[in-house]
């Protein structure tokens, strides 16, 4: 309420929305870099060593990390680290995207089955929950082994490991969304003598879309993590998993490389989530602007709108 009033008041001299969010993003990035360098400077000056010693071997300078990104990855090599990390990220993203698509489809399908049959929900849901309490580290080698026996490409095996982390948020959120319309909405569909399929397409799925997109954003990040972890037992040399492992083992001699790899891994996840957000904005149309900015309030608004 208060925020709305202030926005109206400053309407006349506001910068465009995209410019303001970009400026804030840059400002926060600057602040974080300043904190990092400030910590190193102050802790060095004061001789403090807790919790982390401010030496370059554990906390490299920010400019050293950037420098490492644009230097050859190996002594005498021709490719700079950024290119190598970029290629590794693309390789991992390919696994993650395939895993994400498989997981999203399976997750959505399960939610539809559950909303159609409360019996199926009661009897299968415990297994769905249990599947997520099993450590992915334990499952990954098995999947890789099975895929190897069947002569499937290793990266496909990794995609399946990734899908294992992806489907769960989609199932839980899609189910919640499919159940979100009030009983009167279903009674209306019944009074039109709508088929179950029509009810699904015209009422339940559109009502669930905001919930599904929230889940897809969670799943997008999870699928990248799943792909990185899946690459380790698969022994795939081309993805981020192996790169991260290699740089972690040589952390004490070249810490800036691991930090650079972490930054590129994070970027891969961010790009993925940004793509989902873009799709959301195109598909979930005709919402008040204020709701588009806040997915949380979007679901509430949807519920109220239908209720």
């Amino acid at each position: 309420m208060v925020a709305g009033a202030v926005d109206t008041w400053t309407e006349g001299r506001r910068l465009p929305q995209w410019l303001r969010s970009t400026l804030w993003f840059v400002a926060i990035l600057g602040f974080l870099l300043l904190m990092w360098e400030g910590y190193k400077f102050l802790w060095t000056e004061m001789g403090w060593s807790w919790p982390v010693r401010p030496i370059n071997r554990s906390m490299p300078h920010t400019w050293d990390i950037v420098d490492a990104l644009f230097s050859p990855a190996r002594r005498g090599g021709s490719d700079i680290l950024l290119v190598i990390l970029g290629e590794a990220a693309l390789f991992t993203l390919r696994e993650a995207v395939l895993g994400f698509v498989i997981g999203a489809i399976v997750g959505f399908f399960l939610a539809v089955v559950f909303v159609r049959s409360p019996l199926a929900e009661r009897s299968l849901m415990p297994y769905v929950v249990a599947s997520q309490t099993v450590p992915i580290i334990a499952i990954a080698p098995m999947v890789v082994l099975w895929a190897g026996r069947n002569d499937w490409p290793q990266w496909i095996a990794v995609a399946f490991i990734s899908s294992y982390l992806t489907f769960f948020p989609v199932t839980i959120n899609a189910l919640r969304g499919l159940q979100s319309p009030p009983p009167t909405a279903s009674e209306l569909m019944r009074s039109y003598a709508a088929t179950p399929n029509q009810e699904l397409r015209k009422l339940l799925v559109p009502a669930a879309l905001p919930y599904i997109f929230t889940a897809l954003k969670i799943s997008a990040t999870a699928s990248v993590i799943g792909a990185i972890i899946g690459e380790l037992p698969a022994g795939l040399p081309n993805g981020l998993g192996r790169v991260l492992l290699r740089f972690a083992s040589s952390f004490s001699s070249a810490p800036e490389k691991l930090f650079a790899a972490v930054i590129v891994s994070a970027l891969a996840g961010i790009v993925f989530v940004a793509a989902i957000s873009l799709a959301e904005r195109m598909i979930v149309r005709a919402r008040p602007e204020v709701f588009q900015a806040e997915p949380e309030s979007l679901s509430v608004a949807t519920h109220r709108g239908i209720a």
């Binding site: 009030p182 009167t184 909405a185 009674e187 209306l188 569909m189 019944r190 009074s191 039109y192 003598a193 709508a194 029509q198 015209k202 009422l203 559109p206 009502a207 879309l209 979930v284 149309r285 005709a286 919402r287 008040p288 608004a301 949807t302 709108g305 239908i306 209720a307």
Partner: protein, 254 residues
């Protein structure tokens, strides 16, 4: 043939010691084109009765027919237009698309849908709001869209469950005037559930008074005030007399 024929209908929810007898020995016959209100205290089963007629719930005993068909057959032949207390509009659809929804499900052509939606929105005086979205409308306007949607496929029977219950008094009276205007033009059978005595008297030709535990019909009050009814009706002596009659009928069984 009556539009709705209810004979010895009962409805029990649950079973064993926890069961609730919602309706008992309901007999009611409604002529085609009639406007009938169901009134009673909360829990008297008036909404349940409406849902039995509309085939949203099965009766436990007795028989119901709608224009000679079972409620199930009537629902499948799209005889019911329903309006609830909440407008239940789909907020991702424009007002026009909301009105078109039943026609879309019934497989009407795009041209027919557009034409019907325009016609219905004109009928409820929202001709200029087809492109708006539900959240841009007031509660009264949303409810008018819900009525337009219910009438869009020309059902023979309009089932209304406290449609104006969530509106403020001023809007409520305006909506009552409008509903009567629409009813007189379309001459559909209306079953209207309400807990407002003046609303029941103002709108209907017959007011069915119900009591609770178990829900049954205690009295049917004929409202022989002439149509069209308007603001003068609300101040008419005979209107007050009928309000008093319904109120006393409700009190008798408390």
């Amino acid at each position: 043939m009556s539009a709705v024929d209810i004979r010895g209908v009962s409805k029990v929810f649950g079973s064993g010691p926890g069961q609730v007898e919602a309706l008992k020995d309901i007999d009611l016959s409604i002529e085609s084109g009639q406007f009938v209100s169901l009134i009673g205290p909360s829990g008297c089963g008036k909404s349940t009765l409406l849902r039995l007629v509309g085939d949203l719930l099965p009766p436990t005993g007795g028989s119901l027919t709608v224009a000679g068909k079972t409620p199930h057959e009537a629902r499948l032949s799209r005889d019911y237009g329903m309006v609830f207390q909440q407008a239940t509009l789909l907020d991702w659809r424009s007002v026009r698309a909301n009105v078109e929804l039943p026609l879309e499900i019934m497989g009407a052509s795009a041209d027919e849908r557009t034409a019907r939606a325009e016609e219905m929105l004109e009928l409820v005086q929202l001709g200029d709001f087809g492109g708006h979205y539900p959240w841009q409308l007031s509660g009264g306007m949303q409810q008018r869209v819900a009525i337009a949607r219910a009438l869009s496929f020309k059902p023979s029977l309009l089932l209304m469950d406290e449609p104006f219950g969530a509106l403020d008094e001023m809007t409520r009276e305006a909506m009552q005037d409008e509903l009567l205007r629409i009813w007189e033009r379309s001459k559909r059978t209306v079953i209207f559930v309400t807990h407002s005595i003046p609303e029941a008297v103002f709108l209907s030709q017959r007011t069915v008074v119900m009591s609770r535990r178990p829900g049954r019909i205690t009295r049917i009050v004929d409202i022989d005030l002439p149509y069209p009814r308007d603001e003068d009706t609300r101040e008419d002596r005979r209107f007050y007399d009928k309000v008093t009659e319904v109120r006393e009928a409700l009190r008798e069984h408390e």
